[in-house]
């Protein structure tokens, strides 16, 4: 199949690992080795190195559950816990479950209700054969990107003091749907007073104006971990077959319509940022050349990058609409071929 060849070429070009299909022996990641885990917990190799954990492996199931839960919250932040284990310098997330708590941006800890839920759920899970422990928490930032806010940072620092090993994951369901790829970030905070040795810049993302202060103040207090995904052999097999059924949804999805609000919000946010940048540009005239001039430039450059990103997403959405239009609406203009359609798409 041409698409398979194209996909493989592209995967190679982009250095994607795990291009080979996992065989049943690689399902060993699903095995929970209690003895080894207990030993690891006793050793605590992370106590001396704040940067100990470098990678995160998320299972297909956990990712699916977290994204669906985050999306179901709409514009309200939702949160949940993740279960899994550790493996050297990697934290492995096997499963996730939602907590009945809403809008945790104003609360430092989940309430007692959620604790009870947590305990009950973990108990029932252990009975049903899921032996892993809680290794982290996730929550959603609908529409404003994957980073830790001030409250999140203090919650995570608390967690890392008492519940190690613990991981914080943030998901943005709105950007996921808008961009067509999963927007997720995994973080661990540095302990109080620790200065990170090198200033590695994380992947740039646009932050709305009303949140940018919160972001800036705390962005040095945590670091991002590298995320990879894994799935079992049965999962891969099922997912491949699933494609046979839901190619329909790929064609019929209409991102333009679903994200109208979000895009409008982004554009108005950009407009405000532009005004700010303009003020700064006007006020710094000849002045001392050097750093101050560079700052505004980079702000304007940032705005440009953001606007390009939004536009690209819009254009993608429009492309699929145009394609659908050509496929299903221009039949009358072609010659009369008897070409039956297996599944009619309805223009949204």
């Amino acid at each position: 199949m041409d698409s398979a060849v194209a996909q493989k070429t592209w995967e190679l070009e982009n250095n994607i690992l795990a291009a080979e299909a996992p065989d049943p022996s690689s399902d060993s990641i699903f095995h929970y080795d209690e003895v080894a885990q207990a030993k690891f917990l006793k050793d605590k190799p992370w106590a001396n190195d704040p940067h100990f954990f470098k990678r995160v492996k998320i299972s297909a199931l956990a990712l699916l559950k977290m994204v669906v839960h985050a999306r179901s919250g709409g514009t309200i932040e939702v949160m949940g816990l993740m279960q899994g284990k550790t493996d050297g310098d990697a934290i492995i997330v096997m499963d996730a479950f939602a907590l009945p708590v809403e809008g945790t941006e104003t609360r430092v800890n989940a309430q007692a209700d959620a604790y009870e839920y947590m305990v009950d759920y973990s108990q029932t899970n252990k009975q049903a054969g899921r032996l892993e422990n809680v290794v982290g928490w996730y929550h959603s930032h609908p529409g404003y990107g994957c980073w830790l806010s001030g409250i999140d940072v203090s919650t995570q620092m608390l967690n890392q003091q008492f519940q190690e090993p613990f991981l914080a994951v943030v998901i943005d369901p709105t950007r996921t749907v808008s961009a067509g790829k999963v927007d997720i970030g995994a973080f661990r905070t540095y302990p109080e007073g620790y200065k990170p040795p090198d200033d590695h810049t994380s992947e740039y993302q646009t932050i709305p104006l009303n949140k940018i202060e919160d972001f800036g103040v705390h962005c040095k207090q945590y670091y991002a971990l590298n995320i990879t995904y894994f799935k079992s052999s049965l999962d891969s097999h099922l997912l491949d077959l699933l494609w046979n059924k839901y190619w329909v949804n790929t064609l019929s999805s209409s991102p333009l319509l679903g994200n109208g609000d979000y895009v409008a919000g982004q554009i108005s946010d950009l407009a405000e940022k532009l005004e700010q940048a303009e003020n700064q540009l006007i006020h710094s005239r000849i002045g001392p050349l050097g750093t101050s001039r560079k700052k505004e430039e980079s702000q304007l450059a940032k705005i440009t990058r953001d606007s390009s990103k939004i536009t690209v997403e819009q254009v993608h959405g429009l492309m699929s609409q145009v394609l659908k239009n050509i496929l299903f609406n221009s039949v009358g203009q072609q010659n009369r071929n008897e070409q039956p359609v297996s599944d009619p798409m309805i223009e949204a």
Binding site: T124, A128, D343
Partner: protein
Amino acid sequence: MASSSSSGLTFKLHPLVIVNISDHYTRVKSQMNPPPPTSATSNSNNSNGGENNQSPPRVYGCVIGVQRGRTVEIFNSFELLYDPSTHSLDRSFLEKKQELYKKVFPNFYVLGWYSTGNDAEESDMHIHKALMDVNESPVYVLLNPAINHAQKDLPVTIYESELHVIDGIPQLIFVRSSYTIETVEAERISVDHVAHLKPSGGSAATQLAAQLTGIHSAIKMLNSRIRVLHQYLVGMQKGDLPCENALLRQVSSLLRRLPATESEKFQDDFLTEYNDTLLVTYLATFTNCSSTMNDLVDKFNTAYDRHSRRGGRTAFI
């Protein structure tokens, strides 16, 4: 035991359920057959050794979702405990789990149960009947975990129970029902993400390639399905295959649905959307231009300012 259903209910299955069941099964299987230990000390609870292949375990669980009128939508699932001695599911466990899930997903309720295996068995009817007091007509979702690369269809079947009169005795038997896969946009993207391991980020070119590849595969699929139908119809026309009026009627009604929408209003809306996107593109290009312009001006100033500092010459606006 598995004839086709006549209840008229349509089933919609979410991929999350499938991945859930698969994960449950893989977990239980790997706990039973632990991988050979890599370190020198072997685990004490290793009763099977490394390579012992037991018969694949059957796992059981419950599926939850919503039923609206004639449509049954299965959203999620969770595991249940099975008691092999009494051939029944642990009731209190079910209720406890139900409560927990009710707190987070208040709209969902128990729709049925699931299991893994090749085909529905007699003992399954027992469990099915037990669940009937939770939901009058539960569904039974069966996943076949045997990986068979030759098969093209999802190894998931949905059974309902129906009262049939066999040999004069009314009995409940399982009947197969058809289902469709239903996803929300977010689900589709994350399934896509994990299935094809697409790279996140990257330049605009790779993103474009990603988007187009996805649509291309979908259209290719559509094309191949159309071809199959076409061949079938040609065969029928030639007389090689028996004429099936029901199918012909379906094809004809589908054909009549094309073009999908042709109203005036649609054209207007479509063009408006098109223009909006073009406007956004224009704005972005504009911003890009002004940013480049600004850079140019600054560089110019840096390069030429020194020569003309005196005379009160100001920079460009």
